[in-house]
Amino acid sequence: MYVTDKILPELPAPSNSKGLIHWLKTNLFNGPFNTLFTLLAAYVLYKVIPPAIEWAFIDATWFAETSGECKLENGDRKDGACWAFITNRFDQIMYGFYPEAERWRPNLAGIMLVLLTIPLFFEKTPKKAWLGGFILVIFPFIAFVLIRGGYFGLEAIDTGKWGGLMLTLIISLVGILFALLFGTILALGRRSSMPIVKSLSVVFIEFWRGVPLITVLFMSSVMLPLFLPEGTTFDKLARAMIGIILFQSAYVAEVVRGGLQAIPKGQYEAAAAMGLSYWKSMFLVILPQSMKLVIPGLVNTFIALFKDTTLVLIIGLFDLLAIIENVLGSDNAWLGFHTEGLVFAAFVFWLFCFGLSRYSMALERKLDTGHRN
């Protein structure tokens, strides 16, 4: 027999940190094989990183009036990067052919969007739902009127002149917003008990998932006009956007459907048993839970969408990459600085994608009420 009346005290958990040496030993040098790899990796990094830093920062030319300043006497280019190519043409990289005098308009729209969005990140903001609704429903019209013009005495600026990072962001934001909306509806449709709704959703999703985006864009610019009555013009940007939205919503639908399927049947039943209608139970009970589950998948899709916007180049729209590659790349004043352009474009794309990924991780953590049913 054993009995005790001694209650053991609560002790702090033993600390895992045992100092740098211990960390190195367990993580980098545990065994001859890992030691070898560690040394090899260190060698490769030593060979790659310092020259890259030298090229990109130390030897770089940041600002210049002409490309001559990036070149040696004999006309060869200097060793370092010529960021002057970017800084010199920065405005065009940002706005494309959007008239200089009117650039305050997209700027204003951008600032408005940022200012409207910031309060959403604070716990305490009252009436968040209304603010969110305003941003999603009303703001796009304001932004469109501002950037496109043609009303309120604002000079109309044809979408063909929109370009650069501005165009990339517009296509992506509009694309993400509508792809999420249509995708969610399609996902619900695919799980509907109504056979017609269900089959239509399946056909739609399978069709758009089955064609390459580049084909969609070609078709939207070459084939769509053939079906439209003679003489009607349909904005090129709008066509591209519709193509991208339809295409991406099929992907979003499948991601969201995965989340819907992961919600236990009991949740649907509990919602129904309380008298919530189909739409109410979807929006109040099912979707909030399933969206949380599919954040990683959605972000994946959105990152793909963001990068796929570069394809609009093939129908003659000049997004960030197209401006750098096709417009500036064939600019005689700055020939030969191709690499800088590509590195810069890659960096900008990476920055946005990485930001999105980080944000989604924070969002997941915030929405985690810890426990599933």
């Binding site: 236990p264 009991g266 949740q267 039943e269 509990a270 919602a271 129904a272 048993a273 309380m274 008298g275 919530l276 209608s277 109410k280 109040l284 009970v285 909030p288 839970q289 949380k292 929405l367 009420t369 810890g370 426990h371 599933r372 049913n373």
Partner: protein
């Protein structure tokens, strides 16, 4: 055993099942179920696993559809019409074996969701009602937590409070204690006993808690293979079971 029920528009019946039949595909899961439940009556349904107990009570609030016969709740025949369903389900509360609380909402939001969105009750009022019921199930201090932070027994009590917030006339319980650890069963049963003893509420409870049945049930119903085999008051049912199957069943379950 009065199983020859007829359509009876008499208001005093909260629930009438008349020759109800249900199939899952080819499987005849409910066979000629007849049951009249008076307003305020407390009924316990028991029987072996797979006998169709859950299916019966899920048909009453139309979570499952029956194919033959009639179900009349509060004098109204269930047709599956959407508007009617909403009305029906505000009058009929249900507690599930696995609680089915909404994990993304706080306890308070779980309780106010349906009152606000179905009954259109103002938020402040719904919250006051919710707190009242949380107090009744003895966990007002958990209002701001999330379901995942509560024990099973607490979750089930929240689930009961959530149903009560809709002010239902009828409560359906589907094995509310069978997913709980033994020490939590009694805290849930206590709440249910209190609710039953208050009177006024019609209760249909699928459970194997025979102590509960003896204490509060007006009638006990024994089901097997999709049929109602025996129905009696608790005293007779437990002390003097008529059918062989009932006797066998009662001898197999542990009497609490």
């Amino acid at each position: 055993m009065a199983n020859n029920a007829q359509v009876n528009n008499n208001e005093e019946y909260a629930i009438q099942l008349i020759n109800m039949n249900k199939w899952y595909g080819d499987f005849h899961v409910l066979k000629d179920i007849n049951l009249n439940v008076k307003e305020g009556e407390r009924i316990v349904i028991c029987g072996p696993s797979g006998s169709g107990k859950s299916t019966v009570i899920r048909c009453i609030n139309h979570l499952e559809e029956h194919q033959k016969g009639q179900i009349i709740v509060n004098g109204e025949e269930i047709t599956g019409d959407v508007k009617q369903l909403e009305r029906l389900r505000t009058d009929v509360g249900m507690c599930f074996q696995h609680f089915n609380l909404f994990p993304h909402l706080s306890i308070l939001d779980n309780l106010t969701l349906a009152p606000i969105w179905v009954k259109k009750i103002p938020k402040a009022e719904a919250e006051a009602t919710a707190m009242k019921y949380l107090e009744r199930v003895k966990i007002p201090d958990q209002a701001l937590k999330y379901p995942g932070q509560l024990s099973g027994g607490q979750q089930q009590r929240v689930a009961i409070a959530r149903s009560l917030c809709m002010d239902p006339k009828i409560m359906l319980f589907d094995e509310p204690t069978s997913a709980l650890d033994p020490e939590m069963i009694s805290e849930v049963l206590d709440v249910m006993i209190e609710l039953a003893n208050e009177g006024g509420m019609t209760m249909l409870c699928v459970t194997h808690e025979m102590g509960f049945a003896k204490k509060v049930a007006d009638r006990v119903i024994f089901m097997d293979a999709g049929q109602i085999i025996e129905e009696n008051n608790p005293e007779e049912f437990f002390n003097n079971p008529q059918s062989e199957r009932t006797q066998l069943f009662l001898s197999q379950i542990i009497d609490h």
